[in-house]
């Protein structure tokens, strides 16, 4: 039994609903309420509250890298915010042994008008580094970010890629005893993501305690040995990561071949785009959670536009239950379709695509959806909207009972030739 780094006991956080949806009180509200109470007529309005987190207890040993997974709204971010002292718990307590560095977002405190050099110092100080420490690591940070030529340029002139690289580079050189990381790897291009993951596993190998929240299952699998699964504010499972990921992918997300969105499920920023449903339909058009590998099936995404949207593309991300991407496809991938649907007027739509037979291997798959106007605005993304499984009965080679690796299992044409000597 090693030393404890974190001990959390019966932790809970309650939010007032008004506060969660972002409304702030105006003085008028308070005055009106107060006046009402003085007169004794208006009863104090009962405030609706929700527990974002409740009855959470766990311990983390020094040097352990612990994953935290769960759906949006499961309480992951709230947990990290409490542990990094950004917000206070409503009940329970947490003991932290060691300095905590939190990485809830890269580039916190970056100022667009300041140069790369100035931002490194500012951001470093905000993340809790000493000035001497930043000076010592300065060259390393610049090199990691690959921005040496632009170090005296205001970061507002940086490309978004450079900006992210610099922001991550500063954060990655933070050396606290306990590192709390949330989704920071979900940014940048694939090449940079690999670099970030590499840096993260370096950190883990240096014997520091890491709490790692991510939607990226392959990153969680790669970086952590053990994982917490949160659901609706509660801790539902703590298990070795492969088990936890399987549990999460099968039970936490299991739907019935259909995912519906209510109006208030959708974040406020999605604007004119309102997702309605995502469905998997088998060959006969029935909504299905399980489709046959040997039959084609279709995936349909239903949505409404509250006003005309130009350049809209909606699409699918298909990945395995382990989070490895399989394919990405958009409804306007065909340039002619894009031209035809350049502006989509207000109304209700279904974008449907057909997945041919003999494409996917048996197993569990996860569908994500996205709606955006390329390079203009992203309206809505849900990377884990729906899961479905593929039945391998009758697939090529299924007369041998062994499992086949890989996400695809196409019926390939084989020719067997006998070579004459």
């Amino acid at each position: 039994m090693g030393e404890l780094a974190i001990r959390v006991q019966d932790l809970g956080k309650q939010y007032r609903l008004g506060a969660v949806t972002g409304g702030y009180r105006t003085l008028r509200d308070t005055l009106a309420e107060g006046a009402g109470q003085l007169v004794g007529r208006v009863p104090r309005p009962s405030r609706e509250t929700i527990w974002a987190l409740r009855h959470i207890s766990f311990e983390v040993e020094r040097g352990q890298v612990l994953g935290v997974i769960g759906r949006n709204g499961a309480g992951k971010s709230t947990l990290l915010k409490i542990l990094s002292r950004i917000t206070e718990p409503t009940e329970g307590e947490a003991e932290i042994h060691g300095r905590v560095g939190s990485l809830l977002e890269v580039g916190t405190g970056f100022h667009p008008e300041l140069t790369g050099r100035e931002n490194i110092y500012l951001n470093g100080a905000i993340l809790g580094m000493k000035r001497t420490e930043i000076a010592r690591k300065f060259d390393e940070i610049v090199e990691f970010a690959e921005v040496a030529q632009f170090i005296e340029t205001p970061v507002k002139r940086y490309s978004s890629g450079m900006y992210l690289r610099l922001a991550f580079a500063v954060a990655a050189h933070l050396e606290p005893e306990i590192l709390v990381v949330d989704e920071v790897l979900a940014v940048g291009d694939a090449e940079f993501q690999r670099k970030c993951l590499g840096k993260m596993s370096d950190v883990a190998q240096q014997g520091r305690t890491v709490l790692f929240v991510s939607h990226n299952m392959s990153a969680v699998l790669r970086l952590t040995q053990e994982t917490l699964v949160l659901d609706r504010g509660g801790l539902v499972l703590r298990a070795p990561t492969p088990q936890a990921v399987d549990y999460y992918m099968t039970s936490g997300l299991a739907q019935t071949g259909e995912r519906l969105w209510a109006e208030d499920d959708v974040p406020a920023g999605s604007g004119p785009f309102q997702p309605l449903a995502l469905r998997v339909r088998d060959e006969r058009g029935r909504i299905a959670e399980r489709v046959a590998c040997t039959e084609p099936f279709s995936i349909e995404f239903e949505y409404a536009l509250s006003q005309e949207v130009t350049g809209l593309r909606t699409g699918l991300y298909l990945s395995t239950s382990r989070g490895e991407p399989v394919l990405t496809s958009f409804d306007t991938d065909d340039p002619r379709a894009f031209e035809q649907r350049l502006a989509r007027p207000e109304g209700r739509y279904i974008s449907r695509c057909r997945i041919p037979a003999h494409l996917l291997n048996e197993g569990l798959f996860v569908l994500g959806v996205n709606a955006s106007s390329y390079r203009i605005r992203s309206y809505f993304t849900d990377e884990q909207a729906l899961s479905f499984s593929v039945d391998g009965t009758g697939a090529p080679g299924s007369h041998w009972p062994e499992a086949r690796g890989g996400p695809v299992r196409p019926a390939l044409e084989w020719v067997i030739e006998e070579v004459q000597r």
Partner: protein, 285 residues
């Protein structure tokens, strides 16, 4: 290498317990001190950013009070002939404007600082006091630049340079304390009630006329009214500052004492209110 080994010794590991706090909290100045480098960098950022992408740059720090002084001179001295205690109008106004601008900018910037810094508050932990504190302190750079002009004006008007000038830093400090006290109240209230953002400009404007900038405090002679007047802590700051610069005035001791007391009450109460509200900043802002 050795330091790292040292840090890994359990004894060197700081431990904290996070649990809900209720009621009033202590100020925890020691923690604020530990974060002094962050306060420095936040101040430095405010200073660096203020005049970026302006043609005249830091000259604005001088031009703004100077042009205001010119306007005051024409309106209140030449047009309205408001008495200026026998001093030339320009230096009378300018010596009142410098501490006033320090206060005004400090209050306005600090009042908005938490809302502007929402991104920091919701993503990183540090003593929240650092944000309004840095906003107030960053005003001293503008003040120092304008002060050089004031010295030039003193030479121009052949004012005697006395040892009283040594008291200037004390009055600057008093001005900062007052600005911080008011700024803490406003910034913490602004997180919950955005009305503060609308009210502040009016409040500051009214406050300016309640302070002896375009007129002399000596116009108020009734002892009772005068002691009420002194409850405005800026009065003591400005009168003290003028006393140090202009020479020839009697030391406004009673006013200053009153102002010092009020400004410390403001600072203390502001800090307590701030600390009490602080724990919900990240949830509401």
């Amino acid at each position: 290498m050795t330091t790292e080994a040292l840090e890994q010794r359990p004894a060197a590991v700081p431990s904290i317990v996070i649990r809900p706090t209720r009621g009033w909290s202590a100020l925890n100045l020691r923690e604020l001190w530990r974060y002094r480098e962050l306060i420095f960098f936040l101040t430095w950022r405010d200073v660096m950013v203020r005049y970026k992408q302006t043609m005249l740059g830091a000259a604005w720090a001088i031009l703004k009070p100077f042009l205001t002084m010119v306007i005051f001179y024409f309106v209140f001295d030449r047009l309205a002939s408001v008495p200026t205690d026998g001093y030339p109008g320009p230096i009378f106004y300018f010596s009142g404007l410098l501490p006033w601008v320090l206060f005004q900018e400090g209050v306005t910037k600090a009042g908005n600082s938490l809302v502007m810094g929402a991104n920091l508050i919701t993503k990183v932990y540090f003593p929240r006091l650092a944000i309004p504190l840095a906003s107030v302190v960053s005003g001293t750079v503008d003040f120092a630049l304008a002060f050089v002009v004031l010295l030039g004006m003193m030479a121009f008007y052949k004012l005697e340079v006395t040892a009283r000038l040594l008291a200037v830093p004390l009055f600057v400090l008093m001005g900062l304390i007052t600005a911080l006290g008011v700024g803490l109240w406003l910034s913490a209230m602004n997180v919950t009630y955005r009305d503060v953002g609308h009210v502040t400009p009016f409040m500051v404007q009214a406050w300016m006329y309640a302070s002896p900038i375009v007129y002399s405090a000596n116009l108020i002679t009734d002892p009772l009214v005068r002691s009420l007047y002194g409850l405005n802590p800026v009065v003591g700051v400005i009168q003290g500052f003028r006393w140090a610069i202009l020479g020839g005035m009697t030391f406004p001791g009673a006013l200053i004492l009153e102002s010092v007391l009020v400004s410390f009450v403001l600072l203390w109460s502001g800090a307590m209110y701030f600390r009490r509200m602080e724990r919900s900043f990240a949830d509401i802002v």
